[in-house]
């Protein structure tokens, strides 16, 4: 979707048009989910926080200053929500352990790769998730992080090396 068209859809959303916002949801859900998965490393939490971020995007759309930059703005919302979530988790961890509740819920989706991804440093996991969930495009990642495509390549390369080591160690 080009910038002008995105601007037009954002303008509809500003007027409270929920149906127009579904277009933006479909366009950015992959990127938002990837950010959350990258930062949290847990599918279930990522899904919940991504949902919160996408809904917040609609309720707070009037705060978006540049209508053509919805993508960068929604990513920022998702990141901030993840940071809040991680802080809350740290506070709750002791309480959960004391009550004998497992902090992470089980998932049987691709256990091998999921285990390795969970052990990756957050920034490495983030770049890999964005690459595989947002159209395998280094350009998209460069736009999201506001860095050059060459820098994105370097980050992906580093992340993959770390992932390789983790997988070999298994």
């Amino acid at each position: 979707m080009n910038g002008r068209l995105e601007k037009q859809i954002v303008a509809f959303c500003r007027g409270g048009d929920k149906s127009a916002y579904t277009g933006l949801v479909k366009l950015y859900s992959g990127r938002v989910f990837a950010i959350c998965l990258g930062m949290l490393g847990n599918n279930h939490d990522a899904e919940d926080i991504a949902q919160q971020a996408l809904l917040k995007g609609f309720t707070h759309i009037k705060q978006l200053r540049d209508d053509e930059r919805f993508g960068a703005w929604i990513v920022r919302i998702a990141k901030n929500l993840c940071i809040d979530f991680i802080r809350r988790q740290k506070r709750n961890r002791y309480a959960l352990v004391e009550r004998g509740v497992r902090p992470e819920r089980e998932s049987n989706e691709c256990p091998e790769i999921r285990g390795a991804l969970a052990k990756l440093p957050q920034d490495s996991r983030l770049v890999l998730m964005l690459y595989y969930f947002d159209g395998r495009s280094t350009k998209n990642i460069a736009e999201t992080f506001e860095i050059s495509e060459a820098a994105v390549q370097t980050r992906i390369s580093r992340a993959r090396k770390q992932l390789r080591k983790l997988l070999e160690a298994k």
Binding site: M1, N2, R4, L5, Q8, I9, F12, G16, D17, K18, S19, A20, Y21, T22, G23, V25, K26, S29, G30, F33, L37, N43, E47, A50, Q51, L54, L55, F58, T59, E109, C110, E112, I113, R114, L117, L128, Y132, F133, R136, T138, Q153, I156, S157, R160, L163, R164, L167, E168
Partner: protein, 421 residues
């Protein structure tokens, strides 16, 4: 390990992400074919790529669920405005001056509201973009396609689209099943006559409605998105479009009737100019799913048509047998170096198809080679076939280097689309 290996391995990632030039990729493969360490490194990365790709694939249902949850929540989520207005209201009511001003404003607003009630909502300004946005929320549609020629129905098709799957039945009994990845076609006797990539979606991101409205639902066309109804009825809107440039040769006009409350298309009429008294009519309804989920399951599942063989650069052409592709027997491939004045020497590809009747037809010639990437070619015509019959052939080929110098592995899928009526 040679000294250059560290540098080579840095570039292997670019090879996998497909960002390397063909020439550079060939250089890399040349090294990899001789160096076991780099070859092993590449294999490891390819395996990781598969794992990560598989992981992203496994997450797709979760992503779809996320989208649905957000859309569902949006429809029942109250906006923040009322909460904010309560606190503003309290501030206003504290002062006598603002209290009187607010009372006057309430009377004015009520008058405008009454006027609006008498004259009815203004639907004349509803842009087509609103319809496309509404259509995006639809996950089920039942439709008919009726082709009128000389004022009688010449061909008809009934279809159902649900959970991103499509099933359709033509008047002659031909059945189409499309799950968004693969389209399978059966004739009236239940024999599979075609299997190939989905015609529905995932290809170029085209969704069901974009496909069926001949591209009119596309977000990219801003002129169309801004268009307002040419006619506003009591409970419907009619949007009349001039055909997009690529449809100008055969389309006179396109008109779409949209329900005023639902903002969903109920009928589309395509007036044609390539034939006299001809138009195509589509009727849509969005009521309950008349067909059970099993109806959307294809009758048989078989592997996609594929053939594999090694080919030698600058060698003879190779005939590769194609299995499980009705109407196609084999594909002929030749790989060679070609010197171009302005570019220099490039590795290029010739591809021809051999049909079950024994007809040979070139599909591409001197196409510069992209290693490890899917190259897709298709031709559709009648004049270049010996029997003058229309055929549309598509071939996908991936060329991969092997450990041997100048020897490549060709992986091919090829299929024949339905012969036009």
């Amino acid at each position: 390990m040679e000294n250059t290996c560290e540098n080579i391995q840095e570039q292997i990632l670019e090879l996998i992400t497909g960002t390397l030039s063909a020439e550079k990729a060939a250089e890399l493969h040349h090294h990899i074919s001789r160096c076991s360490a780099c070859s092993e490194y590449l294999q490891g990365l390819e395996a990781d790529d598969k794992l990560l790709g598989g992981f992203a694939e496994a997450m797709q249902p979760r992503l779809a669920r996320l989208e649905n949850r957000v859309i569902e929540a949006l429809t029942c989520e109250p906006s923040e405005e009322p909460v904010r207005s309560i606190s503003i209201w309290r501030i206003i009511m504290k002062s006598k001056i603002t209290k009187v001003a607010a009372a006057a404003a309430v009377i004015v607003i009520a008058l405008f509201w009454l006027l609006d009630l008498i004259s009815g909502p203004n639907m004349a300004g509803v842009a087509w973009a609103k319809v496309t946005a509404r259509v995006d929320q639809i996950d089920f549609v039942h439709f008919y396609e009726l082709k009128f020629r000389e004022n009688r129905v010449n061909s008809s098709l009934e279809g159902w689209f649900s959970d991103e799957r499509l099933v359709a039945k033509k008047h002659n009994g031909t059945m189409f099943f499309d799950d968004g990845v693969t389209e399978t076609v059966f004739d009236q006797y239940g024999q599979q006559i075609r299997k190939g990539p989905s015609e529905l979606g995932n290809i170029k991101g085209m969704k069901f409605f974009e496909k069926i409205t001949q591209g009119l639902m596309q977000y990219e066309n801003e002129d169309l998105l801004r268009q307002v109804p040419s006619h506003v009825g009591h409970d419907f809107l009619i949007y009349r479009f001039n055909p997009p440039e690529r449809m100008e040769k055969w389309v006179e006009s396109v008109s779409i009737t949209v329900g005023i409350n639902s903002l969903l298309p109920v009928q589309m009429k395509i007036r044609r100019k390539d034939q006299e008294n001809a138009y195509d009519l589509y009727i849509f309804d969005y009521e309950e799913r008349e067909k059970p989920a099993e109806f959307f399951e294809t009758k048989s599942v078989s592997k996609p048509p594929q053939g594999k063989a090694e080919i030698v650069l600058d060698g003879e052409e190779v005939i590769i047998n194609i299995s499980d592709s009705p109407g196609i027997d084999a594909v002929e491939v030749r790989l060679y170096n070609k010197f171009f004045d302005d570019i220099g020497e490039l590795k290029v590809l010739d591809l021809a198809v051999i049909t079950a009747e024994g007809f040979r037809r070139g599909i591409c010639r001197q196409m510069p080679l992209k290693l490890n990437k899917e190259n897709r070619f298709s031709v559709g015509d009648s004049k270049h076939w010996p029997d003058g019959k229309y055929r549309h052939v598509t071939a996908k080929i991936v060329i991969r280097p092997t450990e041997k110098d100048n020897v490549y592995l060709a992986e091919i899928s090829c299929w024949l689309d339905l012969v036009a009526d």
